[in-house]
Symmetry: D4
Subunit: 252 residues, 8 copies
Amino acid sequence: MNKDSLRALLQELADNKVSVEEVMESLKVLPFQDMGFAKLDSHRALRDNFPEVIYCPGKTVAEIVMLVEKTVEAGQNVLATRANPEIYEGVRARVSGAQFDQRARVLWIMTNSVAIRGRVAVLTGGTADIPVAEEAALCLETMGASVNRIYDVGVAGIHRLLTRINDIRQAQVLIVVAGMDGALASVVGGLTSHPVVAVPTSVGYGANFGGLAPLLTMLNSCAPGVGVVNIDNGFGAAALAFAIINAINTDT
Amino acid sequence: MNKDSLRALLQELADNKVSVEEVMESLKVLPFQDMGFAKLDSHRALRDNFPEVIYCPGKTVAEIVMLVEKTVEAGQNVLATRANPEIYEGVRARVSGAQFDQRARVLWIMTNSVAIRGRVAVLTGGTADIPVAEEAALCLETMGASVNRIYDVGVAGIHRLLTRINDIRQAQVLIVVAGMDGALASVVGGLTSHPVVAVPTSVGYGANFGGLAPLLTMLNSCAPGVGVVNIDNGFGAAALAFAIINAINTDT
Amino acid sequence: MNKDSLRALLQELADNKVSVEEVMESLKVLPFQDMGFAKLDSHRALRDNFPEVIYCPGKTVAEIVMLVEKTVEAGQNVLATRANPEIYEGVRARVSGAQFDQRARVLWIMTNSVAIRGRVAVLTGGTADIPVAEEAALCLETMGASVNRIYDVGVAGIHRLLTRINDIRQAQVLIVVAGMDGALASVVGGLTSHPVVAVPTSVGYGANFGGLAPLLTMLNSCAPGVGVVNIDNGFGAAALAFAIINAINTDT
Amino acid sequence: MNKDSLRALLQELADNKVSVEEVMESLKVLPFQDMGFAKLDSHRALRDNFPEVIYCPGKTVAEIVMLVEKTVEAGQNVLATRANPEIYEGVRARVSGAQFDQRARVLWIMTNSVAIRGRVAVLTGGTADIPVAEEAALCLETMGASVNRIYDVGVAGIHRLLTRINDIRQAQVLIVVAGMDGALASVVGGLTSHPVVAVPTSVGYGANFGGLAPLLTMLNSCAPGVGVVNIDNGFGAAALAFAIINAINTDT
Amino acid sequence: MNKDSLRALLQELADNKVSVEEVMESLKVLPFQDMGFAKLDSHRALRDNFPEVIYCPGKTVAEIVMLVEKTVEAGQNVLATRANPEIYEGVRARVSGAQFDQRARVLWIMTNSVAIRGRVAVLTGGTADIPVAEEAALCLETMGASVNRIYDVGVAGIHRLLTRINDIRQAQVLIVVAGMDGALASVVGGLTSHPVVAVPTSVGYGANFGGLAPLLTMLNSCAPGVGVVNIDNGFGAAALAFAIINAINTDT
Amino acid sequence: MNKDSLRALLQELADNKVSVEEVMESLKVLPFQDMGFAKLDSHRALRDNFPEVIYCPGKTVAEIVMLVEKTVEAGQNVLATRANPEIYEGVRARVSGAQFDQRARVLWIMTNSVAIRGRVAVLTGGTADIPVAEEAALCLETMGASVNRIYDVGVAGIHRLLTRINDIRQAQVLIVVAGMDGALASVVGGLTSHPVVAVPTSVGYGANFGGLAPLLTMLNSCAPGVGVVNIDNGFGAAALAFAIINAINTDT
Amino acid sequence: MNKDSLRALLQELADNKVSVEEVMESLKVLPFQDMGFAKLDSHRALRDNFPEVIYCPGKTVAEIVMLVEKTVEAGQNVLATRANPEIYEGVRARVSGAQFDQRARVLWIMTNSVAIRGRVAVLTGGTADIPVAEEAALCLETMGASVNRIYDVGVAGIHRLLTRINDIRQAQVLIVVAGMDGALASVVGGLTSHPVVAVPTSVGYGANFGGLAPLLTMLNSCAPGVGVVNIDNGFGAAALAFAIINAINTDT
Amino acid sequence: MNKDSLRALLQELADNKVSVEEVMESLKVLPFQDMGFAKLDSHRALRDNFPEVIYCPGKTVAEIVMLVEKTVEAGQNVLATRANPEIYEGVRARVSGAQFDQRARVLWIMTNSVAIRGRVAVLTGGTADIPVAEEAALCLETMGASVNRIYDVGVAGIHRLLTRINDIRQAQVLIVVAGMDGALASVVGGLTSHPVVAVPTSVGYGANFGGLAPLLTMLNSCAPGVGVVNIDNGFGAAALAFAIINAINTDT
């Protein structure tokens, strides 16, 4: 039952073509159907031209291509994460305008342009963290945020970080991507009063334990204002950062 | 060396009472001293009347009382986390105006009033999560945010949560406090496009493993826009939420 | 809005006292309010006289007593888990008919009698597992299932278990409570074609790791038909067993 | 010694061809031989036409083909889990009627038809959980249960799940397959009073830790009536669900 | 049914008072009853005067005292592990001859003397490991093995160990009790060709993690001939050592 | 300094060619040199014709071949574990008499025959555990023990195990190899008074966690007389079993 | 056999009272006895007046007092770690000169003065880390190193650390004591080219997991020159730092 | 702003061409710029000809080659860790003098010779630990330390280690590389008073858990003076050892 059929039903009641009890019965299953729920699927509607996001693992290339085609036909932008060259080839063969960054494993199609707002800084501890950082950065740019990349500023060379203090201070939200000891999040958290999104990566020697080490470091950060997302989850960081940016721009 | 002594030194140079090389030598250690660094200690200065935060564990009652006295004398508000009745008694004996919430283990003194801005919703899965939620809520109120408490809305009774949908939608930032399965963060994350701060708690049966279970649940949340803080860390959630609120109110 | 006020509203529409659009607006928030949701809160309504369940930890004695009083006044049976003598004393002082088993930490009040149906066998590996087993057994009896206790039949003395084979075969559902190696679940699972609910306990020497060892054992059970609940969670086992019993008696 | 030889032995005693003591001696080793034990191997005999189950890993293709041939010759249905295309080819070359689902890694041969009874709903959080869900669904169908697939209804979009409420309510047993945060089990557990079998999957980002995250979530489910099986163990879920279905249909 | 009643039954058959089929029916449940099973409970019968072992945790003092009394009345020796002074007092009040070692938490009563055979060496890394070592040693002595205590010979002072080389070489079985790094098991394993039973203890600084560190060390021992028992499980080590001693003395 | 040079030195003292103090000085460094140490390397000398053991991982084929050649030239038997076909080919090309079992990854050369003594039973829970069991069995046979293979007797079908009770009872030492729930060790431990060597395997579904589940099960075994070796470590089990066999045959 | 008896034996040989072969036989067991081993016990002899170290846990007060008395009588300094007031009282009642720091749990007696050499800086992240830091500092001072305490310089306020850069640079060895995120070690490691000894502490919120979080952070430090000791192990850090100081002063 | 521009600015002030306030403004951002920070980047300047270190993972061959070329042009030595043959080929094609050790995965170019000082012993428990040991050894040699390799001296054959006691005693710093039980670090720590750097390796059977077992062993070492670096981190061990060597040679 959609809004129109509900309105038609109520009109029938107003016209006394159906009884109150018949309408009561029809409304009983209403809550779990469709009327109010379009509003629930809010992320797509975050703002104009927010992309349709496709998480590629576990889907066949054919399934992904079909999803992309449908989205483009619907006039929406596309953002596919954890993509690979094979997926890119599959999409390119059917849809024009696709872009792909292999390091970040991100594929995107900008059917519509987006207005840029919000200043996000994306920092990495080392060069090996860049793929995850780029996943975050590219996702954010597709969503419509401006990104300032501050890479390879790990805390073992604190001066490298401090020389970027102005960039850090100007960002509205900061994403800190770090493997190994993950200590960068704490230091950055101490240099800004803005929200910091911390992304542990699985980069490092043995006792990194697949990202567990920087994950725990970041969760235990002694700096206030740090929120942590899953290991290697650049997209998750971008989504949280964009939710904040969106709040800044629309929620006052 | 502070600003005044630096200015005096430069004046001496301008007056040619010291040589350029002498000033060079003095400036060499400057960066690590005091001049520019007042700006670094930004959290206290987040906004007017932000409280001085004291983390009580590992400090003696005497040390805490001294810190509180000094802060109050300096005309600042006080927020002490993980406090206990003994600390409260100690403070009360020396300083007037102290308030204490035993369940939340929070002690605070509002020397100055704060302007309220920002709407934060604090949700809990069960009643056993309330102490941590109250730590977050009381900290936020001390910082100057308005808090809407939505307690005991765990996902096993999804209707309890859904009847609060309007409250959820009106919040600018949401803090979700949940032990056991920690699933509330994912459901709330799907009901809002605003940032969600997730706080796992150590509440639950055996395989909660001191909060590890909801921690992992929240890190793996399939809803976008969720950032996780440490287990039972109500203050940490408040700090992140307030950083976002602050950004919303000042950073556009 | 409840059913009555909805019916009244629709009647107003049928009487043309309100417009279709006004009713549309009222219905918009309906799904998340109260009408259909009574049906959602299904566990209490599982069957007649199902008790109101109170999980005690994190609640004050006063809060628990109030909940108990309210439930008894409403004519419902009460089942409080993880209770303690202090709670029992508090309840007894205000409500008559309360029973308490200290070992199982279960408190219950049978305001109404329940018809008994379903045959559940509760087995333990050792005597130290009995408190958790009794939590399960007493909860089940309060819910209205008959329980056959088969205690101290750990697999290291397989003959003790095998002499109880007839009891095992006659049960419709089996709850296996075991700490240490938790191996009992696998052996029992192999002796019956009925569902087995496995409850690991935190009983044992060091590398039990608070119940992790039997938990993993049970999850890895090589016998089909075994479902695992949380460590030491006797109530959880009872709830699952009763859901099965209930299905057996009502769902064909 | 089988029943016939035992009977023969007793006949000899009745005929006084052997002494009581000689029979006593023969009976001494009896318990561990064969007489009563046919009844122990109960799972195959759960009901008519229950398939012979072959777990493929660790067996060579030749061994599996031989097992399949023997089973088919014995007139039994075959269910092989964790199969692969090579095994399928090997079987097909020797036996007709084999079916294979690559995604679910299930191979089956229905030598005899089975009567369908029982209504199981299989739900997944995302599309990446479908292979495990299909393993459960196909196994159940081979055993003789009817399956209602409700896929991609993760809790981050709670409305998708709620629109399927009628399907959920009609199932006698529910299997919930979910990776990432595994929160679906708790929400589904709250929507039904029937038993829920929860299957964590190893799907997700880093801190999923090979399925540990949803495993812990499900074990800590705050909804009553949830039993957990091993990570990615679709067959285990089917076996538990079928044990319940079987109990519903035969055990009252 | 016991041997006598079985014999009686068979006699009835021999006398043709019952039919073969009637006896068949009676025998059907036989295997899981009592006849042959006395032989299964083999540990008590390991050798003459093997003590009845009581594991105290989870039992009330009253229950333990009753068990002890019954055992003594039956003329058997008693060995109670993880006992405490309260239990000792309870036993002493009712039974004479009880001995108690508080450090080892072992209580024993030698109703009958045992012949001593077997030479076991019990080694510890440090003095803090002695309680567990004494649990092993006292249990062994109660069982009837001779024990050579070689304490405080941790590998950080390898010479202390090497000066005891003759004692090590003369032992038939060695029990190595060590916390901290647990390295002693490997070194001892390299100094003897006899079986080594390794017992990790929960002694040590933080990253001992309740005995996990020496447990893993011992499992990964690069010396052949090392078997590991549970953390702090002195009794378990004694039981394994005695099984070996018993095999040496009786099984050739 | 070797025995001859020491004897020469002492002779010089007896001949008064050197002083007592000079000999004292020479003897000071003696302990860490070579004299008595040949006796330390005891494992090779466990008994006549004990094989030289080569652990292949981390060594090149060329290095292994060289070691094998040298050993064979020295007239010793060879036992190489964790070998692969490439190593086998390399050895075969240079040395005759090499045998190789691919499933067990064991390569051996019997330059000399060994007298057989000792009866070891090797049991497995499932067929997938056989490679590890065969590693243990083949190693033991090379060492000179007789092995009784009792495979696929997992506890979920307890009757399969019980029908082998006589084999179990006749073994002097038992090796139990099991993955999944690892429960077999406890049941076997309860059926025998002889030492049981438990080997967890990494066989199983997700929450086996690479063998952690059966490892913990076995360490927590409620049956006395069980010692655990490392995951998948068939050789380690053989070494421990042989140390016991050796003790039985030589140490009374 | 000690030096004197060996010398006597050799003298007998020189006097031809015993034969060369008889001496050979006596020397055979020599290496594992006592002669040369005094040299092995090198830590006590690190330098003049190095204290005798007593680790208190697991020892009775009486045992500790006896050890202390014996050491003082022998003219050696005493250092007892993990002591408590009860131990201090016990020692004070028998020996004069004892000093005790309750926060650091260190008791020491300086029977002889020690020459001071070496400059160690001990840093902490927060005030709650000070007890462990003081354990390290007091141990070092007892050993004879000079200590510069630089406390409460956690990385969330990086300027606090940088203002101490000269102190950091002047230290020959640095001990970094930090709980929570443990990030201080990495930053300090980047500010110095001298060895850094990192000590994780169990200070912090839930996901500190008893010090696991900072332990992993420190092991994964991206700064070179960092070595980690056990959680909360202030003495261990002191011992490593002193070994380095000692090497600096004596080993060139 | 560098030193020259700062000096120029101050000269302008001395010449009264700019005002004191203008200089104050310029100095405000100074601390985070460049003046004093050259001194921060201390590791490269540890001593003359210290190599530029390149960590290869996460970098493309092209990026690595470019870094190498730039470094060689700058007249510096190159040390690339975790390199592979492809990288070596890429470097060799562009730069002369490159050396590569495949086992240790180390590539180095000695543009300038280094003076050798410092004596480091590198020990391994087994042959499988040699790759990590060689990484440490080659890195140290490139840095300018002399290395004594003492391989395959695991504690299960303690005499192999003891025969090398003189080598152990002569080293100023010792690096102990061991997998499996990791016990070698404790034994070596007991044989020397010099600092020991312990490197756990991921070598071994199942419960090595990727190096966790020896990592914990080493952290719990009962020998004083042991510092631990990350699993398999040969370079990290070399860096710490060299920091110590450097301190020995320059810091008195």
